[in-house]
Protein backbone atom coordinates (compact mmCIF):
# COMPACT_ATOMS: atom_id res chain seq x y z
CA UNK A 1 0.00 0.00 0.00
CA UNK A 2 2.81 2.31 1.05
CA UNK A 3 4.57 1.69 -2.28
CA UNK A 4 1.45 2.57 -4.26
CA UNK A 5 1.08 5.98 -2.63
CA UNK A 6 4.64 7.01 -3.27
CA UNK A 7 4.42 5.68 -6.81
CA UNK A 8 1.28 7.74 -7.41
CA UNK A 9 3.03 10.82 -6.00
CA UNK A 10 6.02 10.19 -8.23
CA UNK A 11 3.80 9.87 -11.30
CA UNK A 12 1.99 13.05 -10.33
CA UNK A 13 5.31 14.86 -9.88
CA UNK A 14 6.57 13.67 -13.26
CA UNK A 15 3.31 14.77 -14.89
CA UNK A 16 3.59 18.18 -13.27
CA UNK A 17 7.17 18.60 -14.43
CA UNK A 18 6.25 17.52 -17.95
CA UNK A 19 3.29 19.93 -17.96
CA UNK A 20 5.53 22.76 -16.78
CA UNK A 21 8.17 22.04 -19.41
CA UNK A 22 5.55 21.82 -22.16
CA UNK A 23 4.01 25.09 -20.98
CA UNK A 24 7.42 26.83 -20.96
CA UNK A 25 8.29 25.49 -24.39
CA UNK A 26 4.95 26.42 -25.94
CA UNK A 27 5.26 29.92 -24.47
CA UNK A 28 8.72 30.21 -26.03
CA UNK A 29 7.47 28.94 -29.37
CA UNK A 30 4.62 31.46 -29.24
CA UNK A 31 7.13 34.28 -28.63
CA UNK A 32 9.21 33.19 -31.61
CA UNK A 33 6.11 32.94 -33.77
CA UNK A 34 4.99 36.41 -32.71
CA UNK A 35 8.40 37.87 -33.53
CA UNK A 36 8.34 36.23 -36.98
CA UNK A 37 4.95 37.80 -37.67
CA UNK A 38 6.26 41.17 -36.49
CA UNK A 39 9.28 40.82 -38.80
CA UNK A 40 7.10 39.88 -41.79
CA UNK A 41 4.93 42.93 -41.21
CA UNK A 42 7.96 45.18 -40.78
CA UNK A 43 9.42 43.81 -44.02
CA UNK A 44 6.26 44.52 -45.96
CA UNK A 45 6.16 48.02 -44.45
CA UNK A 46 9.75 48.59 -45.63
CA UNK A 47 8.90 47.22 -49.10
CA UNK A 48 5.98 49.65 -49.31
CA UNK A 49 8.16 52.59 -48.27
CA UNK A 50 10.93 51.72 -50.72
CA UNK A 51 8.34 51.56 -53.48
CA UNK A 52 6.88 54.88 -52.33
CA UNK A 53 10.33 56.45 -52.43
CA UNK A 54 10.95 55.16 -55.95
CA UNK A 55 7.55 56.53 -57.05
CA UNK A 56 8.27 59.91 -55.48
CA UNK A 57 11.61 60.09 -57.29
CA UNK A 58 9.93 59.06 -60.55
CA UNK A 59 7.25 61.72 -60.12
CA UNK A 60 9.94 64.37 -59.67
CA UNK A 61 11.87 63.04 -62.68
CA UNK A 62 8.85 63.36 -64.95
CA UNK A 63 7.53 66.62 -63.44
CA UNK A 64 9.47 68.89 -65.78
CA UNK A 65 10.39 70.99 -62.75
CA UNK A 66 14.00 69.81 -62.46
CA UNK A 67 16.89 69.87 -64.94
CA UNK A 68 17.12 66.99 -67.46
CA UNK A 69 20.39 65.58 -66.11
CA UNK A 70 18.98 65.27 -62.59
CA UNK A 71 15.78 63.84 -64.05
CA UNK A 72 17.72 61.06 -65.79
CA UNK A 73 19.63 60.23 -62.59
CA UNK A 74 16.38 60.03 -60.63
CA UNK A 75 14.52 58.01 -63.25
CA UNK A 76 17.35 55.50 -63.53
CA UNK A 77 17.65 55.11 -59.74
CA UNK A 78 13.88 54.65 -59.44
CA UNK A 79 13.75 52.07 -62.20
CA UNK A 80 16.70 50.12 -60.68
CA UNK A 81 14.88 50.14 -57.36
CA UNK A 82 11.65 48.85 -58.88
CA UNK A 83 13.47 46.08 -60.77
CA UNK A 84 15.52 44.90 -57.78
CA UNK A 85 14.85 41.28 -56.82
CA UNK A 86 13.24 41.12 -53.34
CA UNK A 87 14.63 37.59 -53.01
CA UNK A 88 18.20 38.89 -53.15
CA UNK A 89 18.43 41.34 -50.23
CA UNK A 90 22.16 41.99 -50.61
CA UNK A 91 21.94 43.24 -54.21
CA UNK A 92 18.77 45.06 -53.37
CA UNK A 93 20.48 46.80 -50.46
CA UNK A 94 23.22 47.95 -52.83
CA UNK A 95 20.67 49.28 -55.34
CA UNK A 96 18.73 51.16 -52.64
CA UNK A 97 21.96 52.57 -51.18
CA UNK A 98 22.89 53.87 -54.64
CA UNK A 99 19.49 55.50 -54.82
CA UNK A 100 20.08 57.19 -51.45
CA UNK A 101 23.40 58.51 -52.72
CA UNK A 102 21.84 59.72 -55.98
CA UNK A 103 19.11 61.50 -54.03
CA UNK A 104 21.71 63.20 -51.85
CA UNK A 105 23.57 64.34 -54.98
CA UNK A 106 20.46 65.66 -56.73
CA UNK A 107 19.01 67.32 -53.63
CA UNK A 108 22.23 68.73 -52.18
CA UNK A 109 21.39 72.38 -52.74
CA UNK A 110 18.97 73.84 -50.19
CA UNK A 111 18.31 76.92 -52.34
CA UNK A 112 17.40 74.87 -55.39
CA UNK A 113 14.93 72.86 -53.29
CA UNK A 114 13.47 76.08 -51.90
CA UNK A 115 12.95 77.35 -55.46
CA UNK A 116 11.39 74.04 -56.47
CA UNK A 117 8.98 74.09 -53.55
CA UNK A 118 7.75 77.57 -54.45
CA UNK A 119 5.69 75.94 -57.18
CA UNK A 120 2.66 74.31 -55.46
CA UNK A 121 3.07 71.10 -57.44
CA UNK A 122 6.78 71.08 -56.67
CA UNK A 123 6.19 71.52 -52.97
CA UNK A 124 3.93 68.47 -52.88
CA UNK A 125 6.50 66.36 -54.73
CA UNK A 126 9.34 67.51 -52.50
CA UNK A 127 7.52 66.89 -49.24
CA UNK A 128 6.36 63.50 -50.48
CA UNK A 129 9.93 62.51 -51.28
CA UNK A 130 11.17 63.84 -47.93
CA UNK A 131 8.49 61.83 -46.10
CA UNK A 132 9.30 58.68 -48.11
CA UNK A 133 13.03 58.97 -47.35
CA UNK A 134 12.25 59.45 -43.67
CA UNK A 135 9.87 56.48 -43.62
CA UNK A 136 12.39 54.18 -45.30
CA UNK A 137 14.86 54.85 -42.49
CA UNK A 138 12.18 54.37 -39.82
CA UNK A 139 10.84 51.11 -41.27
CA UNK A 140 14.30 49.68 -41.72
CA UNK A 141 15.21 50.43 -38.12
CA UNK A 142 12.04 48.78 -36.81
CA UNK A 143 12.63 45.74 -39.04
CA UNK A 144 16.21 45.30 -37.87
CA UNK A 145 15.12 45.80 -34.26
CA UNK A 146 12.69 42.88 -34.61
CA UNK A 147 15.29 40.75 -36.38
CA UNK A 148 17.74 41.39 -33.54
CA UNK A 149 15.18 40.33 -30.92
CA UNK A 150 14.29 37.16 -32.88
CA UNK A 151 17.90 36.17 -33.41
CA UNK A 152 18.62 36.69 -29.72
CA UNK A 153 15.69 34.49 -28.74
CA UNK A 154 16.55 31.80 -31.29
CA UNK A 155 20.10 31.62 -30.02
CA UNK A 156 18.82 30.25 -26.70
CA UNK A 157 19.56 26.61 -25.86
CA UNK A 158 15.96 25.50 -25.31
CA UNK A 159 14.93 26.91 -28.67
CA UNK A 160 17.73 25.09 -30.51
CA UNK A 161 17.39 21.76 -28.67
CA UNK A 162 13.64 21.51 -29.19
CA UNK A 163 13.58 23.07 -32.67
CA UNK A 164 11.00 25.57 -31.45
CA UNK A 165 11.51 27.79 -34.50
CA UNK A 166 10.44 24.94 -36.81
CA UNK A 167 11.63 25.37 -40.38
CA UNK A 168 11.44 29.14 -40.41
CA UNK A 169 14.70 30.51 -41.82
CA UNK A 170 16.83 32.63 -39.49
CA UNK A 171 15.62 36.24 -40.07
CA UNK A 172 18.15 38.58 -41.66
CA UNK A 173 18.59 42.30 -41.18
CA UNK A 174 18.24 44.54 -44.22
CA UNK A 175 21.40 46.59 -44.74
CA UNK A 176 21.45 49.75 -46.81
CA UNK A 177 22.52 53.38 -46.69
CA UNK A 178 19.24 55.07 -45.81
CA UNK A 179 20.46 58.56 -44.98
CA UNK A 180 18.03 61.10 -46.40
CA UNK A 181 19.32 64.22 -48.18
CA UNK A 182 19.94 66.64 -45.27
CA UNK A 183 18.54 69.54 -47.32
CA UNK A 184 15.15 67.77 -47.50
CA UNK A 185 14.84 67.68 -43.70
CA UNK A 186 12.89 70.98 -43.41
CA UNK A 187 10.21 69.71 -45.84
CA UNK A 188 9.26 66.75 -43.66
Amino acid sequence: MQVDVSLALLVLLVLLVVAFVVWRLSALAARIDRLHIRIDLARSALDAQLLRRARAAEALATSGLIDPASAIVLARAASNSRNADPGDPVTRGVVESEMSRDLREVFADAEAIAALSEVPEGQELVSDLAAACHQVALSRRFLNDGVGAARLLRAGRLVRWFHLAGHAPMPQTFEMDDQAPPALQPYL
Binding site: R34, R38, A45, A48, L138, G148, A149
Partner: protein
Protein backbone atom coordinates in the same frame (compact mmCIF):
# COMPACT_ATOMS: atom_id res chain seq x y z
CA UNK B 1 -6.32 56.63 -37.25
CA UNK B 2 -7.57 55.75 -33.78
CA UNK B 3 -4.75 55.83 -31.24
CA UNK B 4 -4.74 54.62 -27.64
CA UNK B 5 -2.23 56.47 -25.46
CA UNK B 6 -1.20 54.88 -22.16
CA UNK B 7 0.10 57.21 -19.43
CA UNK B 8 1.95 55.50 -16.56
CA UNK B 9 1.50 58.34 -14.07
CA UNK B 10 -1.60 59.65 -12.34
CA UNK B 11 -3.58 61.88 -14.70
CA UNK B 12 -4.71 64.20 -11.89
CA UNK B 13 -1.16 65.14 -10.85
CA UNK B 14 0.27 66.55 -14.06
CA UNK B 15 3.94 65.84 -14.64
CA UNK B 16 6.18 65.89 -17.68
CA UNK B 17 4.97 62.63 -19.23
CA UNK B 18 1.25 63.35 -18.68
CA UNK B 19 1.65 66.82 -20.21
CA UNK B 20 3.53 65.30 -23.15
CA UNK B 21 0.71 62.80 -23.72
CA UNK B 22 -1.99 65.46 -23.54
CA UNK B 23 -0.06 67.69 -25.97
CA UNK B 24 0.44 64.74 -28.33
CA UNK B 25 -3.28 63.94 -28.08
CA UNK B 26 -4.24 67.47 -29.09
CA UNK B 27 -1.70 67.54 -31.92
CA UNK B 28 -3.07 64.22 -33.22
CA UNK B 29 -6.60 65.63 -33.17
CA UNK B 30 -5.43 68.62 -35.20
CA UNK B 31 -3.96 66.22 -37.77
CA UNK B 32 -7.37 64.55 -38.06
CA UNK B 33 -6.75 61.48 -35.91
CA UNK B 34 -8.60 60.23 -32.84
CA UNK B 35 -6.84 59.69 -29.52
CA UNK B 36 -7.91 58.06 -26.24
CA UNK B 37 -5.97 57.91 -22.99
CA UNK B 38 -5.66 55.20 -20.32
CA UNK B 39 -4.12 56.46 -17.06
CA UNK B 40 -4.15 55.93 -13.32
CA UNK B 41 -6.46 58.41 -11.60
CA UNK B 42 -7.62 59.21 -8.07
CA UNK B 43 -10.92 60.73 -8.99
CA UNK B 44 -12.66 59.04 -11.92
CA UNK B 45 -15.52 61.55 -11.91
CA UNK B 46 -13.19 64.46 -12.67
CA UNK B 47 -11.63 62.87 -15.77
CA UNK B 48 -12.34 64.29 -19.23
CA UNK B 49 -14.28 61.91 -21.48
CA UNK B 50 -11.27 60.82 -23.53
CA UNK B 51 -9.47 59.47 -20.42
CA UNK B 52 -10.26 56.05 -18.96
CA UNK B 53 -9.06 55.29 -15.44
CA UNK B 54 -6.90 52.24 -14.83
CA UNK B 55 -7.53 52.54 -11.09
CA UNK B 56 -6.07 54.41 -8.16
CA UNK B 57 -2.33 55.07 -8.33
CA UNK B 58 0.10 53.79 -5.71
CA UNK B 59 2.99 56.00 -4.67
CA UNK B 60 6.44 54.52 -5.15
CA UNK B 61 9.78 56.24 -4.76
CA UNK B 62 11.88 56.55 -7.87
CA UNK B 63 15.10 58.48 -8.43
CA UNK B 64 14.65 60.41 -5.19
CA UNK B 65 11.14 61.63 -6.01
CA UNK B 66 7.72 60.02 -5.76
CA UNK B 67 6.02 58.54 -8.82
CA UNK B 68 2.31 57.72 -8.68
CA UNK B 69 1.73 54.66 -10.83
CA UNK B 70 -0.38 51.51 -10.73
CA UNK B 71 0.18 47.82 -11.33
CA UNK B 72 -1.28 44.43 -10.45
CA UNK B 73 -4.18 42.37 -11.76
CA UNK B 74 -6.83 45.09 -11.33
CA UNK B 75 -5.23 47.62 -13.67
CA UNK B 76 -4.29 44.77 -16.06
CA UNK B 77 -7.94 43.74 -16.31
CA UNK B 78 -8.99 47.35 -16.87
CA UNK B 79 -6.32 47.78 -19.53
CA UNK B 80 -7.57 44.65 -21.29
CA UNK B 81 -11.16 45.83 -21.17
CA UNK B 82 -10.15 49.26 -22.49
CA UNK B 83 -8.30 47.64 -25.38
CA UNK B 84 -11.25 45.37 -26.17
CA UNK B 85 -13.73 48.24 -26.17
CA UNK B 86 -11.71 50.96 -27.86
CA UNK B 87 -11.16 49.49 -31.35
CA UNK B 88 -7.65 50.95 -31.64
CA UNK B 89 -5.46 51.08 -34.75
CA UNK B 90 -2.34 51.73 -32.70
CA UNK B 91 -1.51 51.31 -29.01
CA UNK B 92 1.07 53.91 -27.97
CA UNK B 93 2.51 53.18 -24.54
CA UNK B 94 4.71 55.62 -22.65
CA UNK B 95 7.57 54.65 -20.35
CA UNK B 96 7.12 50.86 -20.63
CA UNK B 97 10.39 50.04 -18.84
CA UNK B 98 9.13 50.62 -15.30
CA UNK B 99 6.83 48.44 -13.21
CA UNK B 100 3.76 50.33 -14.33
CA UNK B 101 0.68 50.56 -16.49
CA UNK B 102 2.94 50.85 -19.55
CA UNK B 103 4.29 47.32 -19.38
CA UNK B 104 0.89 45.98 -18.24
CA UNK B 105 -0.86 47.36 -21.30
CA UNK B 106 1.74 45.87 -23.62
CA UNK B 107 1.39 42.58 -21.80
CA UNK B 108 -2.37 42.33 -22.34
CA UNK B 109 -2.35 43.60 -25.94
CA UNK B 110 -1.42 42.27 -29.37
CA UNK B 111 -1.05 44.06 -32.68
CA UNK B 112 0.53 47.39 -33.67
CA UNK B 113 2.22 48.58 -30.48
CA UNK B 114 4.50 51.63 -30.25
CA UNK B 115 6.35 52.73 -27.11
CA UNK B 116 8.06 55.96 -26.08
CA UNK B 117 10.92 56.08 -23.58
CA UNK B 118 11.12 59.27 -21.53
CA UNK B 119 13.78 57.81 -19.22
CA UNK B 120 12.26 59.12 -15.99
CA UNK B 121 11.49 55.60 -14.81
CA UNK B 122 14.39 53.56 -16.12
CA UNK B 123 14.59 50.22 -14.36
CA UNK B 124 17.93 48.92 -13.27
CA UNK B 125 19.20 45.85 -15.03
CA UNK B 126 18.71 43.87 -11.80
CA UNK B 127 14.99 44.67 -11.61
CA UNK B 128 14.54 43.72 -15.24
CA UNK B 129 16.33 40.40 -14.82
CA UNK B 130 14.17 39.47 -11.85
CA UNK B 131 11.08 39.47 -14.05
CA UNK B 132 13.01 38.69 -17.21
CA UNK B 133 11.02 36.19 -19.29
CA UNK B 134 7.72 38.00 -18.80
CA UNK B 135 9.16 41.47 -19.28
CA UNK B 136 11.15 40.38 -22.31
CA UNK B 137 8.13 38.69 -23.81
CA UNK B 138 6.17 41.92 -23.40
CA UNK B 139 9.02 44.04 -24.79
CA UNK B 140 9.14 41.86 -27.92
CA UNK B 141 5.60 42.92 -28.74
CA UNK B 142 6.65 46.54 -29.12
CA UNK B 143 7.02 47.02 -32.86
CA UNK B 144 8.51 50.50 -32.82
CA UNK B 145 10.41 52.30 -30.11
CA UNK B 146 10.71 56.05 -29.76
CA UNK B 147 13.09 57.90 -27.44
CA UNK B 148 12.53 61.58 -26.63
CA UNK B 149 16.23 62.31 -26.14
CA UNK B 150 19.67 60.80 -26.76
CA UNK B 151 19.80 60.24 -23.01
CA UNK B 152 16.59 58.21 -23.08
CA UNK B 153 17.78 56.31 -26.12
CA UNK B 154 21.08 55.41 -24.47
CA UNK B 155 19.34 54.02 -21.39
CA UNK B 156 16.95 52.03 -23.60
CA UNK B 157 19.79 50.50 -25.58
CA UNK B 158 21.66 49.67 -22.38
CA UNK B 159 18.78 48.11 -20.45
CA UNK B 160 16.57 46.43 -23.02
CA UNK B 161 18.74 46.13 -26.11
CA UNK B 162 17.43 47.02 -29.55
CA UNK B 163 17.26 50.50 -30.96
CA UNK B 164 14.88 53.45 -31.09
CA UNK B 165 14.16 56.43 -33.28
CA UNK B 166 14.70 59.83 -31.77
CA UNK B 167 11.62 62.04 -31.77
CA UNK B 168 12.08 65.02 -29.45
CA UNK B 169 9.52 66.56 -27.15
CA UNK B 170 7.30 69.14 -28.77
CA UNK B 171 6.47 72.70 -27.87
CA UNK B 172 3.20 74.38 -28.79
CA UNK B 173 4.62 77.52 -30.39
CA UNK B 174 1.16 79.08 -30.79
CA UNK B 175 0.93 79.44 -26.98
CA UNK B 176 3.98 81.73 -27.02
CA UNK B 177 3.49 83.45 -30.36
CA UNK B 178 2.13 86.83 -29.16
CA UNK B 179 4.11 89.57 -27.48
CA UNK B 180 1.92 90.62 -24.56
CA UNK B 181 4.15 91.24 -21.47
CA UNK B 182 3.24 91.17 -17.77
CA UNK B 183 1.25 94.23 -16.66
CA UNK B 184 3.54 97.19 -16.12
CA UNK B 185 6.53 95.55 -17.82
CA UNK B 186 7.96 95.50 -21.29
CA UNK B 187 10.86 94.11 -23.20
CA UNK B 188 13.66 96.44 -24.23
CA UNK B 189 15.44 96.99 -20.91
CA UNK B 190 17.74 94.62 -19.07
CA UNK B 191 15.35 92.07 -17.61
CA UNK B 192 16.58 88.55 -16.93
CA UNK B 193 14.23 85.67 -16.24
CA UNK B 194 14.55 82.35 -14.42
CA UNK B 195 11.86 79.66 -14.27
CA UNK B 196 12.05 76.52 -12.16
CA UNK B 197 11.88 75.23 -8.61
CA UNK B 198 13.51 77.95 -6.52
CA UNK B 199 14.78 75.59 -3.80
CA UNK B 200 16.00 72.80 -6.10
CA UNK B 201 19.79 73.15 -6.48
CA UNK B 202 19.82 71.30 -9.81
CA UNK B 203 17.77 74.13 -11.34
CA UNK B 204 20.74 76.37 -10.56
CA UNK B 205 19.16 79.59 -9.25
CA UNK B 206 22.11 79.90 -6.84
CA UNK B 207 24.52 80.09 -9.80
CA UNK B 208 22.52 82.93 -11.34
CA UNK B 209 22.32 84.80 -8.01
CA UNK B 210 26.08 84.43 -7.56
CA UNK B 211 26.57 86.01 -10.98
CA UNK B 212 24.11 88.84 -10.35
CA UNK B 213 26.41 91.27 -8.45
CA UNK B 214 28.94 91.27 -11.29
CA UNK B 215 26.17 91.76 -13.86
CA UNK B 216 24.65 94.63 -11.82
CA UNK B 217 28.05 96.29 -11.60
CA UNK B 218 28.31 96.39 -15.39
CA UNK B 219 24.62 96.85 -16.24
CA UNK B 220 23.10 99.00 -13.44
CA UNK B 221 19.46 98.70 -14.57
CA UNK B 222 19.44 94.89 -14.61
CA UNK B 223 16.37 93.18 -13.13
CA UNK B 224 15.55 89.53 -12.51
CA UNK B 225 12.16 87.80 -12.69
CA UNK B 226 12.03 84.55 -10.74
CA UNK B 227 9.09 82.28 -11.54
CA UNK B 228 8.42 78.81 -10.18
CA UNK B 229 7.33 76.96 -7.05
CA UNK B 230 9.33 76.74 -3.81
CA UNK B 231 10.17 78.92 -0.84
CA UNK B 232 11.83 82.11 -2.09
CA UNK B 233 12.49 83.74 1.32
CA UNK B 234 16.02 82.31 1.72
CA UNK B 235 16.80 83.57 -1.77
CA UNK B 236 16.00 87.17 -0.97
CA UNK B 237 17.60 87.00 2.46
CA UNK B 238 20.89 85.87 1.00
CA UNK B 239 21.07 88.87 -1.33
CA UNK B 240 22.50 92.30 -0.76
CA UNK B 241 19.46 94.60 -0.03
CA UNK B 242 20.30 96.83 -2.99
CA UNK B 243 20.23 93.81 -5.26
CA UNK B 244 17.19 92.24 -3.62
CA UNK B 245 15.10 95.17 -4.86
CA UNK B 246 16.01 94.15 -8.42
CA UNK B 247 14.78 90.57 -7.94
CA UNK B 248 11.04 90.05 -8.45
CA UNK B 249 9.67 86.74 -7.21
CA UNK B 250 6.53 85.74 -9.12
CA UNK B 251 5.98 82.33 -7.48
CA UNK B 252 4.05 79.66 -9.37
CA UNK B 253 2.75 81.10 -12.64
CA UNK B 254 -0.19 80.06 -14.80
CA UNK B 255 0.32 79.09 -18.43
CA UNK B 256 -0.75 82.57 -19.59
CA UNK B 257 1.46 84.35 -17.07
CA UNK B 258 4.38 82.16 -18.05
CA UNK B 259 4.00 83.35 -21.65
CA UNK B 260 3.62 86.98 -20.47
CA UNK B 261 6.69 86.71 -18.25
CA UNK B 262 8.72 85.29 -21.15
CA UNK B 263 7.51 88.17 -23.31
CA UNK B 264 8.78 90.58 -20.63
CA UNK B 265 12.25 89.05 -20.53
CA UNK B 266 15.22 90.39 -22.47
CA UNK B 267 17.25 87.30 -21.66
CA UNK B 268 16.02 83.94 -20.39
CA UNK B 269 18.59 82.22 -18.18
CA UNK B 270 18.74 78.42 -17.67
CA UNK B 271 21.55 77.83 -15.16
CA UNK B 272 20.60 74.16 -14.52
CA UNK B 273 23.53 72.19 -13.14
CA UNK B 274 22.49 68.71 -14.28
CA UNK B 275 19.76 66.10 -14.50
CA UNK B 276 18.17 67.61 -17.59
CA UNK B 277 17.51 65.22 -20.44
CA UNK B 278 15.89 67.70 -22.78
CA UNK B 279 15.05 71.30 -21.83
CA UNK B 280 11.54 72.05 -23.06
CA UNK B 281 11.54 75.40 -21.23
CA UNK B 282 14.37 76.62 -23.48
CA UNK B 283 12.14 75.98 -26.50
CA UNK B 284 9.25 77.80 -24.83
CA UNK B 285 11.49 80.80 -24.14
CA UNK B 286 12.74 80.78 -27.74
CA UNK B 287 9.19 80.47 -29.08
CA UNK B 288 8.30 83.52 -26.98
CA UNK B 289 11.18 85.44 -28.54
CA UNK B 290 13.40 85.60 -25.46
CA UNK B 291 17.10 85.11 -26.20
CA UNK B 292 18.39 82.17 -24.14
CA UNK B 293 21.53 81.85 -22.03
CA UNK B 294 22.02 78.30 -20.75
CA UNK B 295 24.62 76.17 -19.00
CA UNK B 296 26.56 73.97 -21.39
CA UNK B 297 24.85 70.69 -20.44
CA UNK B 298 24.79 68.21 -23.31
CA UNK B 299 20.99 68.35 -23.60
CA UNK B 300 20.99 72.18 -23.71
CA UNK B 301 23.77 72.30 -26.29
CA UNK B 302 21.67 70.10 -28.51
CA UNK B 303 18.48 72.15 -28.09
CA UNK B 304 20.42 75.38 -28.69
CA UNK B 305 21.95 73.90 -31.87
CA UNK B 306 25.48 73.95 -30.38
CA UNK B 307 25.14 77.61 -29.43
CA UNK B 308 23.73 78.90 -32.72
CA UNK B 309 20.23 79.45 -31.28
CA UNK B 310 21.30 80.69 -27.84
CA UNK B 311 24.36 81.52 -25.75
CA UNK B 312 26.10 78.92 -23.55
CA UNK B 313 28.23 79.36 -20.43
CA UNK B 314 30.44 76.97 -18.45
CA UNK B 315 28.18 74.95 -16.15
CA UNK B 316 28.23 76.03 -12.45
CA UNK B 317 30.58 78.94 -13.22
CA UNK B 318 29.01 82.27 -12.08
CA UNK B 319 31.96 84.27 -13.45
CA UNK B 320 31.46 82.89 -16.94
CA UNK B 321 27.69 83.36 -16.66
CA UNK B 322 28.17 87.02 -15.68
CA UNK B 323 30.50 87.54 -18.65
CA UNK B 324 28.00 86.03 -21.13
CA UNK B 325 25.07 87.98 -19.63
CA UNK B 326 26.88 91.34 -19.68
CA UNK B 327 28.01 90.80 -23.28
CA UNK B 328 24.48 89.98 -24.35
CA UNK B 329 22.73 92.75 -22.38
CA UNK B 330 25.09 95.33 -23.96
CA UNK B 331 24.56 94.01 -27.49
CA UNK B 332 20.97 94.57 -28.74
CA UNK B 333 21.92 93.43 -32.26
CA UNK B 334 23.13 90.06 -31.02
CA UNK B 335 19.93 89.72 -28.97
CA UNK B 336 17.82 90.44 -32.04
CA UNK B 337 19.78 87.85 -34.03
CA UNK B 338 19.34 85.25 -31.28
CA UNK B 339 15.64 86.05 -31.16
CA UNK B 340 15.25 85.22 -34.86
CA UNK B 341 17.42 82.11 -34.61
CA UNK B 342 15.59 80.98 -31.46
CA UNK B 343 12.15 81.33 -33.02
CA UNK B 344 13.27 79.31 -36.04
CA UNK B 345 14.76 76.65 -33.76
CA UNK B 346 11.58 76.40 -31.67
CA UNK B 347 9.49 76.05 -34.84
CA UNK B 348 11.43 72.87 -35.66
CA UNK B 349 10.13 71.39 -32.40
CA UNK B 350 6.55 72.59 -32.84
CA UNK B 351 4.05 69.89 -31.89
CA UNK B 352 2.52 69.83 -35.37
CA UNK B 353 5.89 68.77 -36.78
CA UNK B 354 6.68 66.40 -33.93
CA UNK B 355 3.25 64.75 -34.16
CA UNK B 356 3.72 64.19 -37.90
CA UNK B 357 6.92 62.29 -37.11
CA UNK B 358 5.01 60.20 -34.57
CA UNK B 359 2.31 59.46 -37.15
CA UNK B 360 5.06 58.32 -39.54
CA UNK B 361 6.01 55.75 -36.91
CA UNK B 362 2.35 54.67 -36.60
CA UNK B 363 2.23 54.25 -40.38
CA UNK B 364 5.26 52.00 -40.39
CA UNK B 365 3.75 49.56 -37.86
CA UNK B 366 0.35 49.30 -39.55
CA UNK B 367 1.13 48.19 -43.10
CA UNK B 368 -1.79 45.74 -43.28
CA UNK B 369 -4.40 47.74 -41.40
CA UNK B 370 -4.26 45.25 -38.52
CA UNK B 371 -6.01 46.40 -35.31
CA UNK B 372 -4.96 46.23 -31.66
CA UNK B 373 -6.61 43.33 -29.84
CA UNK B 374 -6.42 41.71 -26.40
CA UNK B 375 -3.78 39.03 -25.86
CA UNK B 376 -5.72 35.99 -24.71
CA UNK B 377 -2.68 34.16 -23.36
CA UNK B 378 -2.63 36.54 -20.39
CA UNK B 379 -6.35 36.20 -19.73
CA UNK B 380 -5.80 33.85 -16.77
CA UNK B 381 -4.22 36.61 -14.75
CA UNK B 382 -6.81 39.09 -15.77
CA UNK B 383 -9.50 37.00 -14.07
CA UNK B 384 -8.10 37.89 -10.69
CA UNK B 385 -10.84 39.45 -8.61
CA UNK B 386 -11.39 43.02 -9.66
CA UNK B 387 -14.00 45.42 -8.39
CA UNK B 388 -15.87 46.39 -11.52
CA UNK B 389 -16.51 50.11 -11.60
CA UNK B 390 -18.96 51.09 -14.33
CA UNK B 391 -17.47 53.81 -16.50
CA UNK B 392 -20.26 56.18 -17.53
CA UNK B 393 -18.12 57.87 -20.19
CA UNK B 394 -17.36 54.90 -22.34
CA UNK B 395 -20.67 53.10 -21.96
CA UNK B 396 -21.26 49.78 -23.65
CA UNK B 397 -19.12 48.93 -26.68
CA UNK B 398 -21.97 49.30 -29.14
CA UNK B 399 -22.95 52.71 -27.75
CA UNK B 400 -19.56 54.17 -28.71
Amino acid sequence: MRVGLVCPYAWDTPGGVAVHIDDLRRALLRLGHEALVLAPADDEEALPDYVTSAGRPISVSSNGSVARINFGPGPAARARRWIKESDLDVLHVHEPAGPSLGILSVWVAEGPIVATWHSSLASSRRELNAAAPMVRSAMEKIRARIAVSEYARASLVEYTGGDAVLIPNGVDCSLYAGDEPLPGRSRGGSTLMFLGRVDEPRKGLQVLLAALPAVAAAVPDVELLVAGPGDAEPVRDALDPALAARVHVLGMVSQDDKARALHSADVYVAPNTGGESFGIILLEAMAAGAPVVASDLEAFQRVLDEGRAGALFANEDPVDLARVLVDLLRDPQRRAALQVAGRARAAQYDWSRVARQVVAVYDSVTPGGEKVFADLSTQLWGRWPVRRVPNPDRGSPDAG
